[in-house]
Amino acid sequence: AEAAELRARLRAVRHTVLVLSGKGGVGKSTFSALLAHGLAADETKQVALLDIDICGPSIPKMMGLEGEQVHQSGSGWSPVYVEENLGVMSVGFLLSSLDDAVIWRGPKKNGLIKQFLRDVDWGEVDYLIVDTPPGTSDEHLSIVQYLSATHIDGAVIVTTPQEVSLQDVRKEINFCRKVKLPIIGVVENMSGFVCPKCKNESQIFPPTTGGAEKMCQNLSVSLLGKVPLDPQIGKSCDRGQSFLAEAPESPATLSYRNIIQRIQEYCEQHHLQEEKIM
């Protein structure tokens, strides 16, 4: 009966993309926020962004929604809207103080994730993006389990170039394979820094073992793109603004846009294949 409830709620969601990483601090939430903004630039598309990082919810701040409250209506919890076609839900909205720590064990976290999926009234959604915490734990197992009521188009896995990140990301790729979650591809963040003055490129996080490119080759997954470091990215995130809108000329923006387009194409193609099968 629970599965039926979830299925009903998620029936109007056309595409679901999970943003994962084995490693923390590589830019999952940043990427999720920009993916949402990027997809919502098409005003005919309805985009939903779900933040299930219960211990460290970054999405409210990145979307400029800190301090917002969640309202309940007859049809469920209402997401917080950034734009008319871009709704957001995060545990961050449920905390009474911004510095409150959510110190919960697994089962309680799972309960909240289920509630998000069951009780949030997303309405008709073209893209549901799910931002996750780092690791391969309760949250990840639960979201894959609960979303099996609908279908997940796939996962985008985020990394940075250094081996210390890649070794965690390989585990994440194996997790996806273990739970039969398709991998749309890998994004390599913080991939080089171009000085705005002298235009010299530096490798802040040198790819000592070949970076994401080599890893993707070895594991037969798609490399969706590499995004260079741009200090404006962090600033935009801190201020809750879309980096894509604030720095349209940045090489990082170009990279992000290309990656977003590839994800869109993957989802559309996936959908066509599904329709053929049906």
Binding site: I103, G106, P134, S137, V164, F175, C237
Partner: protein, 159 residues
Amino acid sequence: TERANLAGVQHILLVLSGKGGVGKSTLSTELALALRNAGKRVGILDVDLCGPSIPRMLRVQDSAVHQCDSGWVPVFVGQDKAIALMSIGFLLERPDDAVVWRGPKKNALIKQFVTDVAWGDLDFLIVDTPPGTSDEHISTVEALRPYQLLGAVLVTTPQ
């Protein structure tokens, strides 16, 4: 013996952060090396079950561990092989295997890690943690509370 394994440790230091990727493991490693350089007896306990970074940082990612009568024998690292290290990384058959465990199983392992490693006499035991405030953190603090818990160092980046 449960009491004994941590009885010889003078100071236990936790390295924490809410945020991932800020440099906890890096700092834990550098702190251990610096303390060792200053002549202290040092151990590192890596309780990041999903992303154990310490073994690679100390170039022992291919090490195996074994047990003695009093518990797990740590791997000795550093230039003079005098820093004692225990990490879940050592227990994985294949390094790319994901540890896909829910809370209760993680808690059981952490408790075992904390009480079943034969550390011997140490001046400092540095405990490296994963990001967040969840099962691993609750279990680690609970398991360490009866011992000489000095305190926590919190790591962040500027943004």
